[in-house]
Amino acid sequence: MIDLGPHADYIVASYAAAGLVLGLLIGASVLANLAAARRLAALEAREASKPAAAKQ
């Protein structure tokens, strides 16, 4: 393990903070994308099934 000297806590904390912010950004972006894709697929499936239901 590399010796980060007397200010190691500050270095580790800064990398942890950057990692946390980037992780939140990536996580929020991916989750929002998956949720939107699911909702759109469900809506389109519902719209596609409507004419068939109307014919019955």
């Binding site: 000297g5 950004l25 759109l40």
Partner: protein, 256 residues
């Protein structure tokens, strides 16, 4: 026989389907590039970069702080261009890009502020100082938050896009203030040492990992921008479908 001229990429990207097709081609190479750049950049930041003769090991914070500062300005400059795209050229994807970019820009600015604070405590003896550079970057962060709040406050996308575009252009005056604050005022923050007249003052052993980390941040930004733009397009399509469904339902109810 005359054939219609092929539309430019700028015009073709106005079509969400064309944008999605291009985005799908670009996304995975950008993700792989981002991971590789972060891997190489972090290796350089911790393994090949020497300690600074004044800052010691604390210089390693520079590799995540400085690229975050670059990207906080770069993202905002891109949003200002998108704002012109909305107001002047009325490009349909301009406000989608702007809305997608704002939270990412805010994230980079927050990283810049946090890591700068963690560097400032051992080097300056203080977490925060109300000097021109630090204060102007804090204002940039607040402008980002204001833009995000404005998007959420206005339901109608086109009205929201115009209001946000005007606010973005007004806020762009802060960019040169941030860049030149260290020259115009006496500040605790050190002057420019990479992008300056006369070239960088940093040794190549430190400059290489710094630029690689800058590239990693840039590639990550492009990945997030594409993912968030695709999401925004889907959200708008969902809203349109819901409006059409509600309209159909209302007409059916009215005809009974």
């Amino acid at each position: 026989m005359e054939t219609a001229p092929k539309p430019s990429l700028w015009l073709r990207l106005a079509n969400p389907a064309a944008f999605n097709a291009l985005a799908n081609v670009l996304l995975w190479p950008l993700i792989v590039g981002t991971i590789a750049a972060f891997g190489y950049g972090l290796y350089g930041a911790f393994m090949t970069s020497p300690a600074d003769y004044q800052q010691g090991e604390t210089v390693r914070i520079m590799y995540i702080h400085v690229p975050a500062a670059w990207l906080s300005l770069f993202v905002y400059a891109g949003m200002a261009v998108s704002a012109l795209g909305t107001l002047v050229f009325r490009h349909p994807m301009a406000d989608v890009a702007q809305k997608a970019a704002a939270p990412v820009g805010a994230g980079f600015t927050l990283i810049c502020l946090l890591t700068g604070s963690f560097w400032g405590k051992p080097m300056w003896g203080t977490w925060w100082e109300w000097d021109a550079r630090l204060t102007s970057v804090l204002i940039l962060f607040l402008i980002y938050l204001g833009i995000i709040a404005l998007w959420r406050a206005i339901d109608e996308p086109q009205r929201g896009a115009r209001a946000v575009a005007i606010m973005t252009l007004v806020g762009a005056v802060n960019l040169p203030i941030i860049k030149f604050s260290v020259d115009w005022w006496y500040t605790l923050h050190q002057p420019a040492s990479v992008f300056r007249m006369g070239g960088p003052t940093i040794d190549r052993a430190m400059l290489t990992p710094l630029f690689v980390m800058g590239l990693a941040y840039l590639l990550l930004y492009l990945v997030l921008l594409i993912v968030r733009m695709k999401t925004e397009l889907m959200v708008r399509r969902i809203e349109r479908l819901q409006i059409v469904a509600a309209d159909k339902q209302a007409r059916q109810g009215g005809s009974r």
